[in-house]
Amino acid sequence: MRGKLKMTTFAKYMCGVVAALFLVALFHTGSAFAEDATQAAAAQSAQMTEFQVAQAEEPKAEEPLAEAGEGAEPEATLDTGDTAWMIVATAIVLMMSIPGLALFYGGLVRKKGVLAVLMQVFTIVCLMTLLWYAVGYSLASTDGGALNAYIGGFDKVFLAGVGADTLSGTIPESVFFTFQLTFAAITPALIVGAFADRMKFSAVCIFMCLWLIVVYVPVWHWVWGGGFLSEDGVLDFAGGTVVHINAGVAALVACIFLGKRVGYPTENMAPHNLVLSVIGASMLWVGWFGFNAGSALGANGAAGMAMLATQVATAAAALSWMFVEWIVHKKPSVLGIISGAIAGLVAITPACGFVDGWGALWIGIAAGVLCFFCSTSIKRALGYDDSLDVWGIHGVGGIVGAILTGVFAVEAIGGTAGLLEGNPGQVLTQIWGIVATIVWCAIATFVILIITNILVGVRVSEPVEIEGLDINLHGETVQ
């Protein structure tokens, strides 16, 4: 009865939402702005948003400033500096998932569920690695032929044709592949925070595998692989849309689908060990340099600016969350400041290659304040149980960042002007990217959950939930 959820009411609710979202989407696609306002921006930024496919035909001088360090070679050669940075960026983005995210989440749940969370994150990293290697990378990054606006092709299944000397821009393709692999690993892992303490482990495995292929890979292709959103000029430097909005929406749908934890919201479910969460949040911050500055795909001025923007925005968001909380709840909390930091990191992700320190500062402040309210009073008012606020931080933070990228983009930094430099169309373009992602992600996630529920049932039984997932699903506990 619990294992396999009945979903009559929920299904109706979802159908309504989905329909509404579709209408919005249709409106946007069909509306004039897509052709007019965004055109200029699109032209400018298309080459930016496709930077990950830089291994393509013509050796375009990716970022203007990159030239300083690289010269304008007639043909692509390996740059050891760029390669050095990208290998390291890969390593530290992996560190973001394990142990970073695993600890951040693990510390926030109750003691009886900490190992289950760690297990889920660790397993997801392993599963996504093999899936990305087998088929994900190919579907995301190669040319999809007739379907290229929506999805790539099968040319590089199991990395066919990629050898030690295959380059992607100035770095080995093996490095680009592994770098992107770490993104594909962390995105699904982010979702587990939403249904912590109540989802079956087998269901997590199945859900995540389906989700990677059906949601993450297409959206990656739309934004970075030459799909329709990159054609439309949507800016997403390091994954505000692909990673965070995607994960946030999936999290929201999943936590509503699964229902609240037993005892929510009257029982005390405060974090059992914030020390773990602080370690995790700190590693996320450090690793995010790899995420954001690494998305420049080289050791150059763009990477430097991305790092700078990341640092400023994160600090601003952490402090703004902390101070707002201090005012509203009378005490500044560890949970608050680290949540704010993550919110800032999320929000600056799409923006970090396009804005300067000043823009980063405001994006950070906005993210800290807005995510605070979305994860506290607004969440409480709406009544869903997103255990670790994946939606409130990644979803909302991602949206705030995506929109403000359109506001604060500086032409001298990333090649595209934003609202403040007189290009209001970019904001609409950004919203279009957000809506498209939300619609697809919400629908597909919902369907995947239904399938998973039919296959193995998504939710553990009540006694298992009350006694804890650690001992029941994995036979282990923390002393």
């Binding site: 405060a270 005490k331 909390s333 606020d389």
Partner: protein, 112 residues
Amino acid sequence: MKLVMAIIKPFKLDEVRQALTELGLQGMTVTEVKGYGRQKGHTEIYRGAEYAVNFLPKIKIEVVVPATVVENAVDAIVAAAKTGQIGDGKIFVVPVEQTVRIRTGETNDSAL
């Protein structure tokens, strides 16, 4: 012999231990417990939800004393553990019928 069982505020442990030692009591056993009482816990705020924390950390001291010393022991504990603030705790006296020192097999008062 009586078992004097006192629930006190954690930070008073050391003073109570000293007071009892001064009475010549050379042994006691201490447990970390959680107490529910008139003293209400704080409310904790966590991501916008407010939970009342009902159980507060307390220390339980168990000391078995000869019947003749009970009065003094209770008084000593009260004196040492009192802050005058709500939540100072309780003392309960329970009869003990037999005592054995495991090391030597001594029994009753001489085992204390």
